[in-house]
């Protein structure tokens, strides 16, 4: 299994752990072929697609669909390490400043045009202008396309994590045809190089994709891995149907109107467990449930009050009610099993010591100032967690006030007002990309916790990016996580699972952050 032809050259080489968890391949190690072709795969997804311009969206709902249409130079494998996709290989110069990508030959876009380095260059230039995560390309000095199959990036300064960032699928740098890349945000035709091509979109209804017959799978792989690998479209069409109502999604799956769904409510999953027509596919570590603590707004400006909240909580009760049981207790800002998973600050997680909490409150001179828990009604598990937490805080004598608004309003209040002490959110995609993504919201300049300047944190944060070795970066991340816990920047509650499910005649479906419908087929 030669997943990474060029792993030695990758600076994040240490992140490349043993891969082998994905699709059980035949012993002959032959490349994947569809045991059965055809059919319309109808997948029920929970959220409206807000736009399919991937340079301009970080929404999961968009990624669900768009990852089937578009591809990038590099993406992430099953264990989240960077792999090549449209790039055949890449080299880094000895000074670490020049990245030379060789493109895979014979790639065509859905409009029939061959992909060349001119398209790559245009796509990167577009991303530099409008890409949401264009900070990734901040250190770029120049980009050139010396010949049709070569793309060169020169950096101003050395960025050891450049490839990790470049391969991120949060807001992926997907490759568009040059003429599309000349267009404004959200104005493009949806043309990519992926195994499925865009067919029809009825907003609020569905997005339909068709098999792209001229797709060339990546011969460096045998099967799928992460968002890359040897991808084959087995279905004639894939329909992402927007079904917001969880009950309707489950019912649709049961009746066979839908062949696959995301986000089955836990209670329904318990019931479906015995249904022979349905396969439940839990995605562990969907997101880290977290409440950000406001360090500039009283009374949580006092460390004592923050520590009281931290040690007074029973995470098991919070997570059980928040998710109806679909959770794992985890202190970390990385998921267990991730290369960067560290222990820093663990002793402050799930302490559940009411007496100690009361003592902290007394020492901090707390006398009944309201602690506002700002949560939203759109994400039920955040709302549930806040409700349970507020009751637990009342038990230790904190005057907890629950403030429930819709998600956009809660974001706005978080950013523009001081009327909150705990803000409920989830770190989902960020941690899955890597430790930088996991902590970026809590360190300056974002600094959602509104913490006073902390040189120690700034130093650890820059070490996370500039340390040459994996061990060095991991140690730096451990320092950051420890600082977060010791100063109670945020209350980590645990990891949430998300249950996907398919009909039992759907074969080859392997859970991932985003449902992948390549190398998946209908049995018989």
């Amino acid at each position: 299994m030669t997943i990474l032809k060029h792993s030695r050259r990758m600076l994040c080489g240490a992140a490349v752990m043993a891969i082998g968890t994905f699709a059980a391949l035949p012993a002959s190690a032959a490349q994947f072929t569809c045991p059965n072709k055809g059919g319309d795969m109808v997948f029920g997804q929970e959220a409206q697609v807000a736009g399919l311009d991937m340079h301009f969206s970080s929404a999961i709902s968009a990624r669900n669909v768009a990852m089937h249409i578009y591809e990038s130079l590099m993406t992430r494998g099953e264990d989240n390490s960077p792999i090549h996709e449209l790039a055949e290989s890449h080299e880094v110069s000895d000074d670490g400043l020049t990245y030379t990508f060789k493109l895979r030959p014979g790639i065509t876009f859905h409009n029939g045009k061959a992909m060349t380095s001119a398209d790559v260059l245009a796509s990167f230039e577009r991303y530099q202008k409008i890409g949401i995560d264009r900070a990734t390309l901040e250190p770029v000095e120049s980009m050139t396309a010396p010949d049709p199959s070569t793309f060169v990036i020169k950096l101003k300064n050395k960025v050891p994590v450049f490839i990790e960032q470049l391969s991120s699928f949060r807001v992926p740098i997907v490759i568009l045809p040059a003429e599309e890349a000349a267009k404004e945000a959200n104005q493009i035709e949806y043309i990519g190089t992926g195994p499925y091509k865009f067919a029809e979109w009825v907003p609020d209804g569905f997005v339909k994709l068709e098999r792209f017959d001229d797709y060339v799978p990546n011969p460096a792989f045998e099967g799928k891995t992460g968002f890359g690998g040897y991808k084959v479209a087995c279905f004639d069409t894939v329909t992402f149907r927007i079904v917001k109502e969880p009950g309707a999604r489950v019912a649709g799956l049961e009746t066979g109107e839908l062949q696959g769904v995301e986000d089955v409510p836990t209670k329904a999953a318990e019931r479906l467990a015995d249904n022979p027509d349905i396969k439940l596919i839990p995605v562990e570590n969907w997101w880290i449930h977290i409440a950000i603590v406001n360090q500039s707004s009283p009374p949580t400006d006092k460390l004592g009050v923050r520590k009281a909240i931290q040690v007074g909580l029973d995470m098991e009760e919070i997570m059980e009610i928040a998710t109806d049981g679909a959770y794992t207790l985890n202190h970390g800002l990385q998921y267990p099993g991730n290369p960067y998973f560290v222990e820093g600050g663990k002793e402050w997680y799930n302490v559940n010591d009411k007496e100690r909490a009361k003592q902290y409150l007394e020492e901090a001179g707390y006398n009944g100032e309201p602690v506002v828990l700002l949560t939203n009604s759109d994400y039920t598990n955040m709302y549930n967690a806040a409700l349970v937490m507020s009751e637990q805080l009342k038990d230790i004598g904190i005057n907890a006030e629950l403030k429930v608004v819709d998600w956009p309003t809660s974001r706005q209040e978080r950013d523009n007002t001081d009327n909150w002490n705990l803000f409920f959110t989830g770190f989902g995609t960020g941690p899955s990309i890597g430790p930088q993504g996991a902590v970026v919201d809590l360190v300056p300049p974002a600094n959602l916790s509104r913490a006073p300047e902390n040189p120690e944190l700034n130093d650890a944060w820059s070490r996370m990016q500039l340390e040459e070795t994996f061990e060095g970066r991991k140690a730096a991340f451990n320092d950051v996580q420890t600082i977060f816990y010791e100063n109670a920047y945020a209350i980590v509650m645990g990891d949430i699972q998300k249950v996907q499910a398919v009909r039992s005649n759907v074969e080859g479906f392997v859970p991932f952050r985003i449902p992948r419908l390549w190398n998946v087929w209908f049995e018989g």
Partner: protein, 318 residues
């Protein structure tokens, strides 16, 4: 008649102007921000600001208002912030969905309401009357979203007869459409059914007391002929007048019902636009629905005036 219609049209102008203004002002009070929704769960403030600029949400209030009216004059309701297409397109492509279900609901309403109302009137104060009118009253009193959920449980989950949601275009698959549209149409129709059944009954009772009906009956005409030939025609007048109200109820109801049944219609478009702060869609959608209702009411007025010439004169703008 032409003068009457012209007068009606002229009096609609200030209302339309006010409707556009209300539509615009309403959304300026909204505390949320669409940029944040596009940015997703863990976007940084800088990202959000970037999106906001891209979408022109950072423009001053007056600029946005002038742009709104300027575009409106050109028949342009603006671009959806989230759907990647024009508001007019978004509405028009969903309109057939909402209209087809609304007309289905209207058909069910008329069918059930006229027959049960007439029957109840003919059998006044018998058990038939009481049962029918109790059902009508309960229909008026049921919360439609709850009824929708209960119907899903009963017919989709327990009995498995009908799908629990979704929509199939009529032209693609008429039977599929019928299956998918039945529960939503019933949920939508229930309120109007009750309303109209009661009106039908009351009007029918009134008509049956009229002299000419009594004469017809006295002449020995069979009751069904009396009802069919004479009474029914008279009942249609009040029915026509409540059409505007029924249409308004259907449009309002579809916001809820299309959400419950995951139907990609105008109602759901509005509901999700409101929750997702897609200002142009909310403004354009409100305006569109209001304009549609104004036209319906205008047509109703004209029809009414046609039926009943007294209306053409001396009615006081009511």
């Amino acid at each position: 008649m032409i003068r009457f219609i012209a007068g009606r049209l002229v009096s609609a102008v200030p209302v339309i102007l006010l409707v556009t203004l209300i539509s615009f002002l309403l959304m300026k009070l909204v505390p949320g921000d669409p940029a944040m929704i596009i940015a997703g769960l863990s976007a940084t403030p800088a990202e959000v600001e970037h999106i906001r600029q891209q979408l022109g949400l950072d423009q001053p209030f007056l600029t946005q208002l002038l742009t709104w009216y300027g575009n409106l004059l050109q028949g342009d309701l603006g671009q959806s912030l989230l759907l990647g297409r024009g508001v007019t397109t978004s509405i028009l492509e969903r309109l057939p969905v909402t209209l087809s279900i609304s007309f289905y609901a209207l058909f069910l309403t008329l069918l059930a309401a006229l027959t049960s109302g007439t029957l109840a009137a003919l059998r006044q104060n018998t058990w038939i009357d009481q049962i029918l009118m109790s059902v009508a009253l309960i229909g008026v009193s049921l919360p439609n979203f709850w009824l929708g959920l209960m119907l899903i449980i009963l017919f989709a989950v327990w009995l498995g007869w009908l799908p629990s949601g979704g929509y199939v275009p009529f032209l693609e698959d008429p039977w599929g459409w019928l299956a998918a549209a039945t529960l939503p149409a019933v949920s939508l129709a229930m309120l109007q059914m009750g309303l109209l059944a009661r009106i039908t009954r009351a009007t029918m009772l009134e008509v049956l007391r009229q002299d000419y009906i009594r004469t017809a009956k006295a002449k020995g005409m069979p009751p069904w002929v009396v009802v069919g030939k004479h009474a029914f025609k008279n009942v249609m007048i009040p029915v026509v007048t409540v059409t505007g109200i029924i249409f308004s109820l259907l449009m309002g109801g579809s916001v809820v019902i299309e959400t419950v049944y995951s139907i990609p219609g105008v109602g759901r478009l509005m509901a999700s636009a409101i929750l997702r702060r897609d200002y142009p869609v909310i403004q354009g959608g409100m305006l569109f629905v209001a304009a549609m209702l104004l036209i319906v009411n205008l047509v109703v007025d004209v029809l009414y005036a046609w039926f009943d010439p007294r209306v053409r004169y001396g009615r006081d703008g009511d």
